[in-house]
Structure formats: structure tokens, C-alpha cells
Symmetry: C2
Subunit: 457 residues, 2 copies
Amino acid sequence: MSTGKVTPISGFLEFLPAERLVEQHFLDVIRRTFELHGFASIETRAVEPVERLAGKGGDVDKEIYGITRLGRHADDATESELGLHFDLTVPFARYVVENAGKLAFPFKRYQIQKVWRGERPQEGRYREFTQCDIDVVDVGSLASHFEAELPLVIADAFAQLPIGPFVIQVNNRKIPQGFYEGIGLTDIAGTLRVVDKLDKVGAATVARLLEEAGATADQAQACLDLAAIKSTDLSFVDEVRALGVSNPTLDEGLAELAAVITAGMAHAPGVLVADLKIARGLDYYTGTVYETQLVGYESWGSFCSGGRYDALASDGRTTYPGVGISIGLSRLLGLLIGKGLVTASRSTPACVLVAVISEDSRPRSLAVATALRRNGIPCDVAPSAAKFGKQIRYAERRGIPYVWFPADEPTGDLSDPADAAPAQDSVKDIRSGEQTPADAETWRPPAGDLAVMIRRN
Amino acid sequence: MSTGKVTPISGFLEFLPAERLVEQHFLDVIRRTFELHGFASIETRAVEPVERLAGKGGDVDKEIYGITRLGRHADDATESELGLHFDLTVPFARYVVENAGKLAFPFKRYQIQKVWRGERPQEGRYREFTQCDIDVVDVGSLASHFEAELPLVIADAFAQLPIGPFVIQVNNRKIPQGFYEGIGLTDIAGTLRVVDKLDKVGAATVARLLEEAGATADQAQACLDLAAIKSTDLSFVDEVRALGVSNPTLDEGLAELAAVITAGMAHAPGVLVADLKIARGLDYYTGTVYETQLVGYESWGSFCSGGRYDALASDGRTTYPGVGISIGLSRLLGLLIGKGLVTASRSTPACVLVAVISEDSRPRSLAVATALRRNGIPCDVAPSAAKFGKQIRYAERRGIPYVWFPADEPTGDLSDPADAAPAQDSVKDIRSGEQTPADAETWRPPAGDLAVMIRRN
């Protein structure tokens, strides 16, 4: 087919093969970690009814993509209006209600899929991107220990990825809510929105904005004092107590956050931080909230966020509370790959290129490849019986570390060893140039060469 | 969020967790096989410009889904019209042209993604479905040995899947084309379209249709004779020769098909069949074509098709020939899962449920889980410190084969062994009821229990 002139579409990221291998490594580690923690995979269809995506207010701020059949016939006029999902939470909530009778609760699921948002594309913001979500959902009520266990799954996954140091910042909506109530503020959501700007506009501006919204100077200062509290151990509890505010919701929040930090201290010391300025999402989350930053790349924002919903889903009669975290994989890779921070050692899964001596002997090369593959060694067979130098360059261009030379059929004067061609296969490490005799039935590459190596630069 | 009433959307298949585990097993085997054969993964964005999807004729017969931003602003009016891809070949061709300068040719890629078609949904036909494609593409010319190697990759993948016996039917466009030319027929495409109906309408009707289209009775009979030829070895060549037609294109086709069948006989005896009635796709493929049927489920049609394109892609100056095969995974699973032919042994990756004795001792259960996970054993921790019977039922409902009981802290009169609680962890196979002492640092389940077992029923 003629493809003519081609230009990329802004906001729709595509990777070259070596970059895709980095992405696959991240996806594999994330999936394996989710599964080790007992989360079951689901995938939901890419589309939902627009009215479900838009929510109660018919809000299309989320920049929903609607879809329509271009070849639609008149008799399909009754089809409901559909749009592409913009996250994995809305479809998961729908899936839970739709399949409630067939699921075992508490239901722990992971979901790794693309989502679409018609936002203005910018660095790290795409119109098509991959999210990796875990959620635990239960019927009626949900045990709070899940709020402590979920960030440990993320800590396990991130610890295995070449992303450098990271912190998971944790807060609990009940802390600012109880605290604000305790100091006599009534507009909780409005106060949270202002405090959320702290990193961007600074303390003085936040204080001014709070006062403009009706807080006294003391109240504004108390909000700033609370937001300044941060600890990787339980010292945050005493620091909040020292502010002298008493409120039952605050107490509940402190106990829940202490449980999360305690679990973090046992499982992933230093990774979980109680950070009381975290306010994003506190308008829809009802308990614990999580944000995740790469140390040194804080300006990129959070790569992994989530929290607890008292009503993740509801069918009107039954309520399904849930807690979840979502890794923004495309954002993370957009940074790491885009900045050249993480690279793959080759552009193909093949660890070995099997050379071809002549087209007539291709079946012999294929037999070598079959033996290697049977032993789990990914390999490629040279596309043509070109000169060996050209075949080696085929491997070099792709970063394939080994070239396999099948034994030539003995030729020449066999009575003269100097004239007889080698009768045994050999394999060459083209990085070192070292060539050694080898048997395809038993040879194995060093473990570090079998899979593509993903490096942090 | 309130999800209200929920109804499935026709044509958009979703799996329950145990079904998804079947799908993941298929995806894993397919991916591993593609990678062992040296194919590199790419993913392309879900959208292409509608004009590219529609092709030269502006054809929307493919039931393209167009997408539009519902919250679109006036300043975006210049955005080009986009649609969801309906296969992976059109986007791959575009990707090759777009990235030609950065790819190493011949380029072997695999691509496993969802595609969308607004077709009328029916059994085995979905509006959203997953395709698993491999293609080899080169610049200018493509060695014909790739046409012999590609079906062997599929044979390797299918041989490892619980799908029962299957056959890959192979033909070559040059055989009917040369044969028809050799007997004096000129409307090659029209003749192929009629012969393609053979299985549905029978030989007598095909003969009548060919004669109505201008063929003589002898010509029609010759077409039927050719279409009747089928062999798992090279005997098809002599059978064609015996029809007494001489044509250079026919000769070329026979040689190419013989090479494919020869490779099949060496690598996967009995799986590849030269089947000269295969005509589907011969209007756009230019050489070898493939179809794949499950033995006993022939009426379901092909689950895996492909062929060679002399011009997979072109930018006007350079032509990129290619050969590819696509597994219709959703069709295959629609049959196997839909008919209950293949099932998973559990609905979660977890192999072990770690029981919780009391909420106070949850950290001890989490430590057991951490030790098991470190050894690659997926596990779950009981959601509550319920009675053990209830915890065991949690495992049973999900098909988790083992329940781990952490040692209780020694209690009671320790000087009286009968009164002291057990001090060692134990693990119970809840299928047999057998319970044995175990150490989380060293215990391993039998290999057959570690991963979910996928069974052909």
C-alpha cells in the first residue's frame, strides 16, 4: 500500500524498537510485582458511554474523545454515544458493578492499558498514554490495612526499576479536614485548593489567599504549619499534636496515616513519607492519598498517585469502597527515555545471530536457531549468505552480542588438516571478538546477555 | 462515583479474571515465541488520519471509527480527522515509512494490540479485538526464505497453546494466476473471487459461476481440479504438473510454495498444508498466502492469516516489500473461552493465601508474604483475621491451592507440649487437605502449581 508523506501526530507518542524494549521491561517488572502481590489482571474495553465518562454534571472538561462509526447505517441510529476512556478508574468501577455477582470480594485487580485525553500536548503530557493501576475494592466496607499495603506494592515495583531514588508521599484527607474544622475553618475543599498551590506560589501567597477567603492570620498560619510537617517515621504525629488542635476526624486520620507509615518503615524504610502538604485529589479521595516523585525530578510532578474512595462504585443499593494507585507509565518513560536517562542494550530480543554460510545451507542455520530457541535463547538467522563481515555488521547494528557460525561441511583435502574446513560450530562475542567452539544443544550465554539489558545512564 | 445501571456494549468483549488469565497465557506464549524468533516489539498509536485508514478510494467499508474531541476548542479546528486503526498492517506500514532512517532492515517486528471495526457484532466477530502480528519488511526487495520461515513461528506458538490440532494452509498467488493465464483466462481477480466460494457453495455452483463469467466448461473444470489439490508434502507439485498447464508464473509459484512446504516438513511435520483452493486475500497479497484452521472447528474459519506484499509500504521513492501473519486472538479466545474449551485453574495469580491469626499479627503474615514473593511465589494475605474456615473459603473461591498458617506465638503452658501452640509455620494444600510444616524462606510449591494452569477441557 502506498503510504505517502507521513508526519507524527502531536500527543501520540511512539517508540523505536530499542525504546520499546525499555517500556516492555518496565511493564514486565510492574506486572510481575502486581502478580506477586496477588492482584488479578483485567482489561476493560476502550470505550464507555459518554454519559458515564462525563459524570453527573455532563462535564467534558476531561477532554473526552468521542467515537462514531464513519460508515454508520441509518438502522444503527439507536446506538448509544461512546467515548474513549480517559482513565482506568471509571471503567473499573463500571466493571465491578456489571460483574459484581461473578467477582470474589475483596477483589484485587490490576489493569495496564492505554487511555486517551484530548489535552493540549506538552512535555510529559500525552493524548494517548499507558496507566498501570492496582485497586482493592470490597462490598460495603473496606479494611484500612489495604491503605497501608498498596504503596508497598509500588515501592517493590519501583525498587526494581532503573529510575533512581523515589519517595511515596502519603497524606490522609481526614488530617487536614479534622485540623481545619478544629481551628474553625468551614470551607475544607476551598482551603485544600489553596494549600495545594504551596509548592508553586510559596507560603506568603498561600497565607494571603487563605486570608482573602476569610481565614484569620492565625488560622492561615496554622494551615501552613500543618502543611510543613513531614517525616519518614511517626514523628509527624507529635508534631501535629504540638499544634494543639483537637478533633476526632484529625485523630482518625493520624492513626490511619501512622499505620501506613509503620508498614512502610518495616517494608521499605525511607520510601514512604508522611507529607501533610499533599492536597491533590483530596476533593475526591476520602482517606489516604498517595503521590510519588523521583528524587531530583520533583518538578516533573507525581508519576504515581492514588488514594481511598469510600464509594469507588455504587449501583444505588450497594456501595463498593476501594483504594487504588495508578502508575503514569508514559509520563515516567517520557522523562526517562526522552532525556536519555534509560536505554536498552539492543534493539531486538535476539541474543544471537546465526550466520548463514550459503543459501543452500540455510536449513543448517535454521536447525541451530531451533536448538537455541528450544533452550530459551532468542535468536535471529542472517537474512542472506553475505560475507561474514556483513553478517556481523547486521548483528552490530542491532546490538546483538553473539554471532553463531555453523560448522561448514568438511571440504577440501580432508587428509590435510590445514586444508579441511572447521567441523565444529563456533560462537563469537562480537564485543570482545572472542570466538569459541560451541554446541547449539548445550551452549548458554552469560545470564546478563540473555535478556536485553536496561541501563540507567 | 455512582455507576448506576450498567449494560454490556455489543461487540466489546470483556473477560472475567479467570478468563483473562487464559488470555494472558496465550499472549505470553505468543510473545515469547515471537521473541525467540528474533522479532522486536513495537506498538503504534491507536489512531491514524482517516484518509490513511480509508485508503486511496476514500473507502469507509472497513467500518472505521472516527474520533473527535468532545471538548474541542475553536483554535483546534485545523486538527486532522483521526480514526481508530482497524488492523495493525496500515499503522505498521506508516511506522516503517516514518522511521525508515532509524530502523535496521530487514526489520522483523511483532505487534500485539487492540484494533477496532464497526462491523455488525456476531459470534467470533467483535468491534474491539486483539491481533498479534509478525512481519518482516525490507527495502527494495525481500528474500523469499522469509515466506517459509514465518509460518514456522506460528506453528511453534500454536504447538504450545492448548488449542488442539491445527493446520496452516498455504498457497501462492502466482500458482492460480499463472495457471489461469496458462489456460487462457484473463480475469484473474474475478476467477479467484469465485473459487474463494468453493467451501461455501460447492464445486457445481463454482463451475456454473465461472462459466457465467465467460469460462468454458473445460476451463472451469481445470480451475476446480487445481483447487482440489492439497498435500502436506511436495506431491502437490506433480499433481499440478499432471494438469498439463505450462506458465512461467505458475513455475515460480510452485517453486516458492515447495520451499515453504519443505521448511514445514523439516520443522513442523504435518502442520503446513499446500492447499491450492486458498484464495482469500489473493487480491492484495502478491506471493505466499496463509490461513490457519483448528481441526474440528473449520466452520469458524481462519484464526491466523497473512501473506506477502511486494509493496507493504512505499513513500513514493522507496518500496518496502513485506511478509506477515496475524493471529486473530480474540476470535480464537471467543471460541475457546466462549465454548468452555479452555479454562484457568484459578482466578488470581496468587498461589498461596497467607492466613492472618489476628489483626495484631498481620505484620507477621505480611513478612511471610514478603519472603514468598522474594522467591517468586505470588501470594495474597487474608483480608481479615476471620476464622480459619472462612480464610480457607477465601482461597477456595479463587482457586488458590495453598493456605499458609504463620506459627502462632507460643502461648499457654509452654512446659506442657500438649498445651503449647505450634511454633512452626505450616502450609495446607486445600485440595488434598494435607498440611505440612514449612519455612517461608525455603518452601516452594510444585512447578505445576506456581503458575495458573491453563487446561484444554
